[in-house]
């Protein structure tokens, strides 16, 4: 059989490619509409040709699309649309049914000049199905989010970790330097935690940590930032909080934990915490010194008998 000529082969190729290809003239009337376009739009080439694209698809964004076409007619250069900014130009079903994340085909579009004798006779548009790429991109973003999370969170309790809270503390400190708005730091530590682990085992110890994390998170809510600071030690940052406020918060935390019984399969436990409070003030030259003050207060609470709140020396 004789090989068809180049023009015919090009026509055949146009009908086979896995790419939407269509073209419009200066009145935005459809002059070319390939098979991909008919199959996905439900409008066949015979019906589409001669109609204005805006007539054929009234839901298209008029001003935006007209601008895309005019860019090509007037500048003789290209125009683009990315799935990330506009998920699709035309609502098509995608051909990857396994990808559950998108209900419609995600599309990258390109608009280009078809030129004859230095004139742009038509604007050709390609619509590429990038649904799989979009799905992979979303997965990557989710993985990055999880990675970010795992570097900021303590795995056991789900609270923020030490690395994160120190960064937050530095941020609060800088904000205080700029605005003068005081904030407080609470450090609280489980009383006799080693005893809990030795007597009831580490699973019980873990359960205690999780329970305390949940109880205190509930208690402080949006008013502060809670983190696991050490093995059995926790830190709370309380923005816009003065010494009196920090003492009150510390007391609420102490009471919530002391009044709470922890029920495990074999045993019912109760634990208490000691709390140390410090508030930033003129003399607090650095974040480290502020944390040290809270730490000294915590130590004082322990020495004073445990299950109590102690204030940093400057506020006592």
């Amino acid at each position: 059989m004789e090989m068809p000529d180049t023009a015919r082969l090009a026509e055949l190729a146009l009908e086979r490619v896995q790419l939407g290809i269509f073209a419009v003239d200066r009145d935005y009337r459809i002059v070319m509409w390939n098979r991909f376009m008919s199959e996905h739009s439900g409008v066949c080439a015979e019906a589409a040709r001669g109609l204005s694209i805006f007539e054929c698809f009234p839901d298209l964004p008029h001003a935006w699309l007209k601008r895309k076409f005019d860019t090509v007619f007037l500048l003789h250069s290209g125009s683009f649309s990315s799935w990330q900014h506009r998920p699709w130009l035309l609502p098509f079903e995608h051909d990857c049914p396994i990808t559950g994340s998108f209900d419609r085909m995600q599309q990258d579009c390109a608009f280009m000049p078809l030129m004859e004798d230095g004139q742009v006779v038509a604007v050709c548009v390609t619509i590429a199905d990038v649904t799989e790429l979009a799905a992979a991109w979303r997965e990557k973003e989710a993985a990055l989010e999880a990675l970010r999370d795992s570097s900021e969170r303590d795995a056991l309790t789900g609270l923020f970790n030490r690395r994160y809270i120190i960064r937050r503390l530095e941020g609060e400190y800088r904000a205080w330097q700029a605005s003068g708005e005081v904030f407080s730091v609470l450090l609280f530590d489980i009383d006799h935690f080693k005893h809990v682990n030795d007597t009831y085992g580490h699973p019980a110890g873990d359960a205690v940590l999780r329970r305390i994390a949940a109880t205190v998170a509930d208690e402080i809510g949006d008013t502060g930032v809670l983190a696991r600071y050490g093995g059995e030690e926790f830190m709370v940052i309380l923005p816009h909080c003065d010494p009196a406020g920090s003492r009150a918060a510390g007391e609420r935390i102490r009471q919530a934990i002391a009044g709470d019984g922890i029920v495990l399969p074999d045993v019912r436990l109760s634990v208490t915490v000691s709390v140390g409070c410090a508030t930033v003030r003129e003399g607090a030259a650095s974040v480290e010194l502020l944390v040290e003050e809270a730490d000294h207060a915590l130590y004082a609470a322990k020495r004073g008998g445990r299950n109590r709140v102690a204030m940093a020396v400057a506020h006592a």
Partner: protein
């Protein structure tokens, strides 16, 4: 110095081509936007990419940090076009280039962070200028979509030679004038040595036909 490659007649030819090209580009942009747009006679300099940040700083009137977008172009000459915007320029350009009249009432309303709008601006300016220029030597370049190279960074971070696998930069400083003032619009093109050779060949062809 790399300016030696483009000297004398060739340099004059390139300047003339760029002048005509920018004039063409300005007229086309004005027609597209339905607004007064004028592109200045471009300043042209050829530099090695190592000297790029300082050359850009010399030539252009920016307040860093800047946002940069890149697009590849290809005809007989292939390279990359980089558009640079500082925050004031970005907001103003988005206002000038807006597609829908109802969108924004003033440049102040243009959201500086709106990357889609900025990509559109970069594409229009790059497309108009480079197409205008290359058409003078009988070429119609094709372009890839704009991609953000970096947002709100210093010139050294964005134009770091390690990030630009190109040898030469043809700096085209184009100033865009609109009805409410003059706003610098900055176009750089980067080319390999091979592309520069192709440009030189094209310029020689242009000169021969004069």
């Amino acid at each position: 110095m790399s300016d030696a490659i483009l000297s004398g007649d060739r340099r004059d030819a390139l300047q003339e081509i760029a002048n005509i090209g920018m004039g063409q580009a300005g007229a086309r942009l004005a027609a597209l936007l339905g607004r007064f747009i004028h592109l200045s006679v471009p300043r042209i300099r050829m530099v090695d990419t190592v000297s790029l940040p300082s050359a850009v700083r010399d030539m252009l009137d920016f307040t860093e940090p800047v946002t940069a977008l890149r697009q590849s172009f290809r005809c007989d000459i292939a390279g990359e076009a980089i558009s640079l915007f500082d925050s004031r320029g970005a907001a103003h350009m988005k206002f000038v280039f807006r597609a829908d009249e109802s969108e924004l009432a003033s440049p102040e309303e243009a959201d500086e962070q709106d990357i889609e709008a900025l990509s559109d601006v970069a594409n229009l300016i790059t497309g108009a200028c480079l197409t205008g220029l290359f058409e003078q030597i009988g070429q119609v370049p094709t372009f890839t979509p704009p991609r953000v190279m970096g947002a709100h960074l210093d010139l050294e971070d964005i134009l770091n030679p390690s990030k630009l696998p190109w040898d030469r930069a043809l700096l085209l400083e184009v100033t865009l004038q609109t009805e409410d003032g003059v706003f610098g619009s900055h176009l750089l093109t980067l080319m390999t040595a091979k592309a520069v050779e192709a440009l030189v060949t094209a310029l020689d062809g242009f000169l021969a036909n004069l």
